[in-house]
Structure formats: C-alpha cells, structure tokens
C-alpha cells in the first residue's frame, strides 16, 4: 500500500475513521435487518371502515378517532398489526362477507350475516333523534303533541323510524352534497322547525361544529346496536385470540370515558 504525503498521525486518524465508519455501517445494517424481521414477524389484520364521527375520522392523514384508538389497542394487544381500509359505507358488509377485509366497524345487526361478532355486547348504540334551534329545543320526544305539527327535514335516503313517520305528516327529504351542513343551515335560517337524524351523537356532541347552533333530543327506545365484526373466513385461532384480547380491554364505553378526560 502506498500512502502519499502522509505522516504517522494522519495515518492513525484515517485507520480510526475507517474503523468507525465500518462500525456505523454494521450497526445500521443490523438495525435494518432487525426492523425487517419485526415487520415480517407481526401478522396484519385488515379492518374495513368509513367516516363515522366521532368514532372514525377520515381526513388527509391517517385515520383518527376513539374507534381507531380502540381497534388499534385491541389488535396490538392480540399481537397483530392493524391495516385500515376505507370502504364505501354501503359495501362494508359485503367486503366483510367476501373476506376482502378481516374485520369491519361499524356493523349493524342486520348486516352481520355469517360474519362473527367480536362480542355479544354491542360496542355502542346509535340513537335517532330530532335536532332543533336551541331556543326551540324539545327535551321530551315522548310528548308527541310538541312535534307532530312541526316541519321536519331529513337527509334523503335516511330510514325514518315508524314512530316519527306515524305521528308527523310534514317530513321533507333534503338531497345534495354536505347534507348535514345543509340541514343545519336550513334549521338555523328557520326554513325548518327540526331536523331528523338517524344518529344524534355525531351532530350533537361538545366537539361538533354544530354544537353552538343546535340541540338534539333522542328517540330513546329506538336505538340500534353497533358491532365490530370479523370475517367468517378468518382463522378460528385468530378469532379466539381477538376475543381474548377484547375481554382484557375495558369495554368501549369505559374506553371512551377514559379518552374523553
């Protein structure tokens, strides 16, 4: 080896630099191998979902919301990595039935079909209701006389509960984009007395953008249970392990309370 213009001191420094560089390369290479190993070692589970406020928030970045926090915790504690797939609302149950997704949330009772419930107990309940301008708030919807003659609007295509349909003949569907905003605008501008919503919580919660404008009452007794469902094509050992993990977690109701603090 020929070293030109080089004294003993610089030679030692060069050896040292080469040694340090080699060490760094070795460490980085080891870390990469380790990381790859952990990626491949952890099985993934695909969860089909859609924007379901306030539980699932679909935006520009990764999915957010209490539902996502809960599902991630559930899967991670069972040793799986969740992969979320946003699916059109109407196709979610079909995706689950065909095994295109391993799990799905939210799933309603009538959509369960052959798929497996994660738990007997529903994760949450949806309650329909009427939203009013605050000054016209009706707290008790069991008093039919208070709302039977009101002009009530609703998003076209929404299923109306028979109790409301039977007792009010002024129900008007509203169609178009950003339907929730349209309903609330119509309500605020007094073009309607009330708005029927299939699920009150997304409209009327302390973080809702409509909170300052409206107040909603629930049709209690007309709630629908909402589940996390698993594909029947999922291996039975995976189903067992997910149910085991579910039992160890606090129920979603408690999980929500913990997260709302």
């Amino acid at each position: 080896m020929v070293i030109l213009n080089c004294n003993k001191r610089s030679l030692i420094l060069r050896y040292f630099a080469a040694y340090a560089l080699s060490c760094c390369c070795l460490i980085l290479f080891s870390l990469k191998i380790f990381a790859e190993g952990s990626d491949t070692g952890r099985k993934t589970i695909t969860i089909g979902t859609y924007g379901y406020q306030p539980h699932i928030k679909v935006g520009a970045g990764p999915l957010q919301g209490r539902g996502i926090n809960y599902l991630s915790k559930l899967l991670e504690s069972a040793g799986y990595e969740p992969i979320y797939q946003v699916v059109p609302r109407k196709r979610l149950a079909q995706y689950l039935a065909n095994g295109k997704v391993d799990m799905a949330f939210p799933i309603y009772e009538k959509e369960l079909g052959n798929s497996k419930q994660l738990s007997v107990r529903p994760l949450l309940f949806e309650t329909p209701g009427l939203c009013f301008r605050k000054e016209n708030f009706i707290p008790f919807l069991s008093v039919i006389d208070r709302w039977k003659k009101l002009d009530i609007i609703y998003a076209g295509g929404t299923e109306i509960i028979p109790f409301l349909a039977k007792n009010n003949t002024s129900l008007k569907p509203v169609f178009g984009a950003s339907i929730q905003d349209r309903l609330i605008k119509m309500l605020a501008s007094k073009r309607a007395d009330a708005a029927y919503v299939a699920n009150v919580l997304p409209m009327y919660n302390i973080n809702s953008r409509f909170y300052k404008t409206i107040a909603c009452s629930n049709f209690y007794g007309h709630s629908s249970p909402v589940y996390i469902a698993m594909s029947d094509q999922l291996d039975s050992s995976v189903i067992r392990s997910l149910r085991k993990s579910y039992k160890k977690l606090p129920h979603y109701a408690e999980f929500e309370i913990e997260n709302s603090k």
Partner: protein, 260 residues
C-alpha cells in the same frame, strides 16, 4: 392420580363458586343501585340545568361516588363492589348514559335540559338490558296512566302491581318470584315506587306544578315541564315499580355473557 384429584377439587370449587351466587340477593342489590343512581339524578337537577357550574361530579368515578353517598344513606352500607358481571355492567351502563348526555348537560344555551330521573332511568334500562346479557331491567308504570308507552308492564308485572296497589302494606313490599319462560327459570323482582314530594312537581296537582313556580295563580298551567298534563297524583300514591328479570341458566352457562 394426584393431578386428577387436584383437577376434581378445582372443578368442585369452581362449581360451588358458580352455584354460590345468590340471585335473589343479587337482584335486590342491582335494583337498589339503579334506584340510588336515579335519586342522585334527582338531587343534581340544579347542577344539570345550570349554565356554568362545575359539572365534574356528573361524570365518571365522581358520579359513582355520589351514588355511593346516597346508597350509604339509604342502606347503611357502601355501594356494592362490581364483583359480578351484572353489577359491573350496571355501573358501566350508568357511566355510559351520563357520557351520552354530556353534550346536553354541558350545553350553556339550554335553560332546561330535560334530563330528569324518568328519562335517565329509561336510558339506563335500555343500555343495561340491550347489552347482550341475560338480564333485563325496566321502570314499569301503571296501565292507563302511562307517560311513556315503553313502560307498559308485562303480565307478571301487571299482576304484581295490581296486588301492591290494593295492599295495605306500608313498607312498600318488594316482590320476588321464580317464573318459567320457555323452559327457563327467571328470577323476577319488582320494587314498587310511590310518589314522593319531589315526584309531585311533575306528577301531582296543578298547585304542585314546578312550571307554575313564581307565577300568579290565575296564570297557572296544567301542563308540566315535560309537556304533559299534571295527572293529579297525591303523596304516597303508587307510581309503578322497578322490575328486574334474571335468566339464571343464561348466567350460569356463561356463554351468554361473552363469546368464546
């Protein structure tokens, strides 16, 4: 041999533990917790309807602490521990109902929120009874005097309430019975409720109507805050009851409590 003996002992121990649940006693505890939570809601009306007071005691563990105080006052002992899934479910349901009403309770734009003991009890019974567990609880009213049709009593409840209505018992006698339903044993419990002074502000006479407070008599209304006509009940009249139904086999099987 040694292992099989140990296994047998363990099975016997577990079996005794399972059979050791006193379902009638459990039923009474559940009803008492239900009633105590309802009472707390009554006492917290000012806080619920205020625009800006501290409302932290209406949620979470602080709310359970309030129920504990009322339970101690009523029964001389602390709130039972959640040592059975049914009791744990009830506590979870109570907290969930309050959480469901957070937007309403915190809304500064509403003078009257309408979260009263009757609506709270109804929501709680729905939440508790629709949870996939083999247990149902509900507030039952008297037929022909129902404010909410969902509080209609079934045959057993109707018979019990009819007997209670004509009985001279002053202790508000709780009724328990084991009934058969589709070949399954049900432990049924009904605790009658009688109108107290607080209840009469909505269920009493026109002079009791809280909507008439600070209004001169000539302008009094027969319609109460809920929007119903005052039904003219008197202090001590039978209001209805809290009814609980436990499917004993369902609970013992365990399969109904959770999927395997």
């Amino acid at each position: 041999m040694k292992f099989s003996r140990l296994l047998l002992l363990a099975l016997l121990f577990l079996n005794n533990k399972a059979l050791g649940v006193d379902y009638p006693e459990l039923s009474i505890e559940v009803i008492n917790i239900f009633m105590a939570s309802k009472e707390v809601l009554f006492e917290k009306q000012a806080e619920i309807n205020s625009a800006n007071s501290d409302k932290s005691s209406l949620f979470g563990q602080l709310f359970l602490r309030e129920i504990d105080l009322v339970y101690k006052r009523n029964h001389g002992q602390p709130l039972p521990k959640a040592d059975h899934p049914i009791k744990a479910l009830l506590y979870q349901s109570i907290l969930s109902v309050m959480e469901d009403n957070r937007a309403l309770i915190m809304d500064p734009g509403l003078v009257y929120k309408g979260l009263i003991p009757a609506t709270f009890s109804f929501q709680l019974s729905q939440r508790f009874s629709n949870s996939g567990y083999p247990v149902k609880i509900k507030f039952v009213g008297l037929r022909n005097n129902l404010v909410n049709e969902a509080n209609n009593p079934d045959v057993w409840e109707y018979e019990v309430l009819s007997k209670v209505a004509v009985s001279v018992s002053e202790d508000g006698g709780l009724v328990q019975q084991v009934t058969e339903e589709k070949g399954r044993s049900m432990v049924r419990t009904l605790k009658p409720i009688y109108f107290s002074l607080d209840c009469l502000s909505c269920h009493g006479t026109v002079s009791d109507n809280s909507a008439n407070k600070f209004i001169s008599e000539e302008h009094w209304t027969l319609i109460n805050k809920a929007g119903f006509k005052m039904p003219n009940y008197q202090l001590g009249d039978l209001a209805g009851g809290v009814s609980l139904k436990l499917d004993v086999l369902g609970i013992q099987e365990g399969g109904n409590l959770e999927l395997q």
